[in-house]
């Protein structure tokens, strides 16, 4: 089994190595215009310089700040509204399809409006991130609380559980795994939409820097920031997946 796992990993690493190799070969002898695609070595060189100088820090800070605030808003409103909706069959039937429908509308279309409302700074990024992340959180919270096995509720009731005991000891732990999956999806979506909206209209942030280097014809520096964004996405994804696995494993 572990031999098979090793094989998966080797193919995955090989796949990425192949892409980098193609990039390296294509840009080595001026086959491709370096303005369109800089050489791998010069991009890597810029990346090392960027990390060593620490000049990425103000932009990273802006993006992380936007992400933290946007996710906090989405998590709070999503969980509270989702729980309230889950309380009655009527409100589930009304709001669950409504939120699911709104979720399928590309909310990034609201971004120009948000720029008018909240300006070019972090406000509009926070608003778009929170809007997009709200839906998976609220939908999973509704689903989590709505589908709690009736056997748990009936047995708790037969043993005399009070309303607060029912919530804290039965409903919340039973719904928790589904809610936490919604939070993870919301977090990733918030990060993606914030980076994306920074590339559209912004004053600072990783997405902003990537676009500004593209516009100033400095693609090697642009790729240095893209590498950084990829690393951040990788790290954040690993952290939230780990957190999810951890809370799901432990007793509620």
């Amino acid at each position: 089994m572990s031999g098979e796992r090793l094989a998966y990993r080797l193919v995955q690493v090989g796949f990425i190595a192949l892409i980098l190799l193609a990039w390296y070969l294509a840009t080595r002898n001026g086959l491709v215009n370096p303005i369109l695609l800089p050489s791998l070595t010069s991009s890597w060189h810029e990346f090392v310089l960027l990390i060593e100088s620490g000049s990425y820090w103000p932009d990273l800070e802006v993006t992380m700040y936007e992400l933290a605030v946007a996710f906090s808003i989405a998590a709070t409103f999503g969980c509270v509204i989702g729980y309230i909706v889950s309380r009655t069959r009527f409100s589930v039937r009304v709001f669950d399809p409504l939120f699911a429908g709104m979720y399928s509308v590309p909310a990034i279309l609201l971004f120009p409006l948000y720029v008018l409302f909240f300006g070019l700074g972090p406000g509009s990024k926070i608003a778009i991130g929170a809007t997009i992340a709200f839906f998976p959180v609220v939908l999973n919270t509704i689903a989590g609380f709505d589908y709690v096995d009736r056997a748990y509720i009936v047995s708790a009731r037969s043993m005399g559980a009070s309303a607060p005991q029912m919530f804290w000891s039965v409903m919340l732990p039973a719904a928790f795994p589904v809610v936490i999956t919604g939070l993870r999806m919301g977090f990733i979506l918030a990060f993606l939409s914030i980076l994306g909206s920074e590339t559209i209209a912004s004053l600072a942030g990783l997405g902003h820097r990537i676009v500004s280097y593209a516009e100033s014809m400095d693609p090697a520096k642009m790729f240095a920031y893209i590498f950084l964004a990829i690393i951040m996405a990788f790290v954040l994804n690993a952290v939230v997946s780990l957190a999810e696995a951890r809370v799901k494993r432990g007793p509620g």
Binding site: A151, G160, P251
Partner: protein, 268 residues
Amino acid sequence: MNDAAAAITVQGVSQAFGPEGDPRRVVALESATLSVTRGELLCLIGPSGCGKTTLLNVIGGLMTPSTGDVVIEGERVRGPLPKKVAYVFQESALFPWRTVIDNVKLGMAFQGVPRSERDQRAHEALAAVGLDDFAQHYPAQLSGGMKQRAQLARALGLKTDILLMDEPFAALDEQTRMVLGEDLSELLARTGKTIVFVTHSLVEAVFLADRVAVFTARPGRIKTTIAVEEGHPRSRSFMTSDKLARLRNQLYELLHDEIRKTMGETRP
């Protein structure tokens, strides 16, 4: 009906689902009247949909009957009585996010047992069902039979006089079911609890019960009650006895026509 020895009296209980006049209205149970003596094990048996689980839920206060009354130890039932009545359900109603012992303790917390007493009582209850070695396991790590033992331990930990059991062994294989039946009979002899036990197994009913209440097909009525008259604890020798076989056959005769009726067949 209000004799001092009666732990449970059920008086004219009917239960219908759906509004009156609706063609889909289902009368699950029609004017059931019975009483359960202290320390007795009463089995409810009948074809599926005959209202035996409905009657159990009415006794336990989980359901309000359309008409009629249930009195438990002098108190009229208007909702769950966790101090007097504990439940064992068919499907595993254990909380999967808690260990076995924490499940037992949570039941006590719901019932209002002081925190300081819970640990010792939980260990006693688990020991009574032979599960003390599995106190720290999660329900998912237990076999079906052990899960039902754990549910029984949770009910025992509540130290109620009355135990309501809703097909607790239905999902188990026959061998496990027989062993758990023997254990339950022994427990009954030791603790003197009053038990109402819903089953669809003829052998299980005769093996466990002091009396068996036989239900008709829907709308469910209590057709007759059979006394088993055999002391607890009951052992393997009773399982293979002629007496059990005779009573089982008698039950089958009583139930046969009712089962045909629920299947929508009429035969001479």
